[in-house]
């Protein structure tokens, strides 16, 4: 049973460029959440996707956008990269159901993005 998989594992981009990160949720999960984790910090919620729509969003600018595909996989896009966007980007999956709010999230190992 595959867990949450993210690609790529590492990425180096230049300021002003655009980046796309990918996530496949754990088998049986239909909801994907994206988090940004700066060095030495806790995860910061970016947004959550369910049924191919953005359901919730954290305090991130519009430069951060996403997409969910019919197979529940998801992409995170960041435009006009800034040095401050350097972080570990984590994808977490869950199943949106009656018990979803008390169900734990399953995380991938993340994509380490470095903006130079």
């Amino acid at each position: 049973d595959a867990g949450v998989t993210q690609s790529p594992t590492h990425l180096i981009k230049t300021r002003g460029q655009q980046v796309t990160l990918r996530c496949s949720p754990k088998s049986g999960h239909d909801t994907v959440s994206w988090y940004q984790q700066a060095l030495g910090q806790g995860p910061q919620f970016i947004f959550q996707y369910y049924e191919e729509e953005e359901r919730q969003r954290g305090n991130f600018p519009d430069r951060f956008s996403g997409h969910q595909f019919p197979n529940y996989s998801s992409e995170l896009n960041v435009n006009a990269l800034l040095l401050g966007d350097s972080a570990l980007y984590l994808c977490a999956s869950s199943s949106l159901g009656q018990s979803s709010y008390n169900s734990p999230l399953h995380f991938g190992n993340g994509t380490r993005l470095t903006v130079t």
């Binding site: 949450v4 030495g40 910090q41 806790g42 995860p43 910061q44 919620f45 919730q56 954290g58 984590l90 977490a92 709010y101 008390n102 734990p104 999230l105 399953h106 995380f107 991938g108 190992n109 993340g110 380490r112």
Partner: protein
């Protein structure tokens, strides 16, 4: 406003000694509380949760946590620490009141277990 505090940036314990990683929270309604662990260059792994019922919750790898409603705390504990427990630990809370069901995360506590 919902919040989570992990008052210690770092906790150091000797192997074999008991460990405690502290977490306090603030929510409007009843809390759903979670502990996660993060090893270097890895994602977060779920350890345990409190939803309702017994205040003492048992989780993975011998960890447990005690929910204390009067003190709004959910401290993580383990009777005998292992060197392999050295990692970053995150407490998270979800408020059951209102429409905002986002998971709020603490800043993390780095646990170092010394041999």
């Amino acid at each position: 406003a919902q919040s989570v505090a992990q008052p210690e940036d770092q906790v150091n314990v000797a192997e074999g000694n008991p460990l405690t990683v502290k977490c306090t929270y603030s929510v409007s309604g009843n809390p759903y509380l979670f502990w996660y662990v993060q090893y270097p260059n890895r994602g977060l792994q779920f350890l345990l949760k409190y939803i309702t019922g017994d205040n003492l919750v048992k989780g993975s790898y011998g960890f447990e946590a005690e929910f204390n409603k009067s003190q709004t705390s959910f401290h993580l504990k383990k009777p005998s620490a292992l060197v392999s427990d050295s990692a970053l630990y995150f407490c998270a809370v979800r408020d059951t009141a209102g429409n905002n069901r986002k998971l709020i995360w603490g800043l993390g506590t780095s646990l170092a277990v010394n041999p």
